[in-house]
């Protein structure tokens, strides 16, 4: 029997973007406030899981045609690359670097290589969570 998911699907279309925005906010808040790559990644995958519940695996795969195992690997590459990058500047592993910039409108801003490391964490968390959910969901 085919059920009518109209309310769920319509609500999802709005909610997914709010959740994704919140996850991005959480991700960037990490340095000064609670948040960071891990919770941001979990929330982003939460948004995708909501899509999975409202639609089905095939639709979501069409919307997000990623191989999530490779997303995980890319994330690892980001994190490992930022930590190993310090070696090229004759600094110990995992040494980070930051600077202040003054872009128009936004005011004083710090750019920090730790963000790149956290991007890696974000991608790994999204990749791992989605791989787990998709694999379990697809297995008969």
């Amino acid at each position: 029997m085919k059920t009518n998911n109209l309310i769920l699907q319509t609500a999802t279309k709005v909610l997914v973007f709010i959740i994704l925005l919140f996850s991005v906010y959480m991700f960037f808040a990490g340095h000064y406030e609670p948040g960071g790559g891990f919770i941001g990644g979990l929330m982003a995958s939460g948004a995708i899981v909501l899509l999975l519940i409202a639609y089905d695996i095939k639709t979501v795969r069409k919307i997000l045609p990623f191989n999530f195992i490779k997303v995980t690997a890319t994330g690892l590459l980001f994190s490992a690359g930022t930590s190993a990058g310090a070696l090229f500047f004759d600094k110990p592993l995992l040494t980070h670097w930051f600077t202040y910039v003054h872009p128009p409108l936004l005011g004083k801003m710090s750019l920090h290589t730790a963000v790149l490391f956290d991007t890696g964490v974000f991608l790994v968390v999204v990749g791992v969570t989605m791989t787990i959910i998709q694999t379990i969901g697809e297995s008969e």
């Binding site: 195992i69 490779k70 995980t72 690997a73 690892l76 590459l77 490992a80 190993a84 070696l87 004759d90 600094k91 110990p92 592993l93 995992l94 040494t95 980070h96």
Partner: protein, 493 residues
């Protein structure tokens, strides 16, 4: 800034990451894996030579001074173990190419393989107790996957046991680190050592020492915590079994050695005597198992337990000579256990069964295999010119010097039984009339045989070159028996 210390960690890590991208392309995977493995060996060897000429190498990660950040410390012991690990990894990799099978290769065998090497090398190199826990987990996660990969019934069953035991022991590890942290307020291993020695002898430190012994004893399979090992190591295919047998328990042994020489040296009368008694019972249990079975895998698996007991008996004696013997024996045992597992892997492939009753007369058609096995077996038993000899001599001699006649006697006697157990395989498996096996024509074992032959040659050279290697090993033992050297190198006082 000397970044050499990070390379044995970074190279396997990056190799593993890159391998994930090429998961379905087997030839590319093999090439990348080989290159990564060779680079790891080169990095490890140059690290070891640097440590030998310039003393202990340290790196404060993120540029934080020693007790506040994570420190990577490579003293002679850990550098030697990293070299041995890289060598064994390379050899097991060569063996995997022809034996692991396309299906496993397609499902991320090589990436996981390199994550295991990363975990093991990291656990040997770290100077931070919680970081050691993290590397333990990296290693264990990879080992869960390697154990279950393939999805045969026996693998599934044994993985559940293995997983359960290791999750519990990891939880205990966290609890033990928590207790230790609440007493000394630091996680850096050198700093913990300083604080514990300021604290002097107190009851709670002894309790934590025993807790650490339980944690690492589960990982390293000492009596009475060895119960999971015979089943779990029976399940995976030969190259994985060789990796596990050579590396995983030895990380537990290394951790016991590190903590019992660096941290817990105040109440030696209690903690080290306990370790001594347990190690002797471990030897007895291992020997009983090795003699009892007529299954080649089980025999070698119980020989791991014997070796763990012998090494820890040397550690418990806690003299420089005994520690030298332990390190000698530890490295010898890693190499030769890997070789033996790979050799019996070939035997099982030929005979189609791991039971000795189904084998016989292999020497007629596979003389190379037979003689390699013979040399490896003699090496394991500790026949003088070969590598098992020197370590055991030092352990036994310092045992007698310390007045522990029973313990040293049992170590000495265990050699005989170990030799008996491996010779039983040789006599029943290789001698006798040539038999017909399920595969009629001669199996192509040339490629498979290169891997254990490399290891056996290393073991033989290790034994013949004892004179040359002795100063290196005694440097390692010097650091273990004088924690001040380690502490000075890390905290730079």
């Amino acid at each position: 800034m000397n970044s050499l210390i990070t390379l044995p960690l970074l190279i396997p890590f990056f190799t593993a990451i890159i391998l994930i991208f090429f998961a379905k392309n087997i030839p590319v995977q093999r090439w990348i894996a080989t290159i990564g493995s060779v680079l790891t060996i080169i990095a490890a060897i140059s690290l070891a030579t640097t440590v030998y000429t310039n003393g202990i190498q340290t790196m404060n990660l993120s540029n934080w001074e020693a007790p506040f950040g994570i420190t990577l410390v490579s003293d002679m012991l850990s550098a030697l173990l990293v070299v041995t690990t890289s060598l064994i990894a390379f050899v097991c990799l060569l063996y995997s190419f022809k034996s692991i099978g396309k299906e496993r290769e397609k499902y991320y065998y090589y990436p996981v393989f390199f994550f295991l090497i990363l975990g093991v090398n990291g656990a040997f190199t770290t100077g931070d107790i919680f970081n050691m826990f993290v590397f333990f987990e990296v290693m264990l996660m990879a080992s869960y996957v390697l154990l279950v990969l393939g999805g045969m019934k026996i693998q599934l069953r044994e993985t559940i046991k293995y997983l359960l035991v290791n999750v519990i022991s990891s939880a205990l590890f966290v609890i033990a680190v928590g207790y230790l942290y609440s007493i000394v307020g630091t996680l850096n291993m050198a700093h913990i050592s300083v604080r514990l020695h300021e604290l002097g002898q107190s009851g709670i430190v002894t309790v934590i020492a025993v807790l650490f012994l339980i944690v690492f004893g589960i990982k390293g399979a000492i009596f009475p915590l060895y119960f999971w090992l015979p089943g779990s190591y029976y399940a995976p295919p030969a190259p994985v079994m060789a990796l596990f047998g050579a590396l995983l328990t030895k990380v537990g042994v290394y951790s016991i050695t590190r903590t019992y020489t660096l941290f817990f040296t105040q109440d030696v009368g209690y903690t080290h005597e306990l370790l001594e008694i347990l190690s002797i019972i471990t030897i007895v249990i291992g020997v009983i198992g090795a003699i009892a079975y007529s299954d080649v895998k089980k025999i070698i698996i119980y020989n791991i337990i014997v070796a763990v007991g012998v090494i820890l008996f040397g550690v418990a004696t806690l003299t420089t000579e005994a520690l030298t013997g332990s390190i000698f024996y530890l490295i010898h045992d890693m190499i030769i256990k890997a070789a033996l597992f790979l050799l019996i892997g070939i035997m099982i492939k030929i005979a189609g069964s791991s039971n000795l009753k189904d084998m016989g007369g292999l020497i007629h058609r596979y003389p190379g295999l037979a003689w390699t096995y013979f040399i490896a077996a003699l090496t394991l038993g500790g026949i003088p010119p070969l590598s098992g000899f020197m370590g055991k001599v030092l352990i036994v001699r310092s045992g007698f010097e310390a007045g522990n006649y029973w313990g040293a006697g049992i170590v000495l006697l265990s050699s005989l039984f170990v030799l008996f157990s491996v010779m039983k395989i040789f006599i029943n498996g290789f001698w006798g009339e040539a038999r017909e096996y399920s595969q009629k024509e001669k199996q192509p074992v040339k490629w498979l045989l290169t891997a254990p032959v490399i290891l056996t040659i290393c073991a033989v050279l290790y034994g013949l070159g004892t004179e040359a290697i002795y100063p290196i090993i005694s440097t390692a033992a010097e650091t273990l028996s004088n924690p001040e050297i380690y502490i000075k190198a890390v905290l730079k006082e």
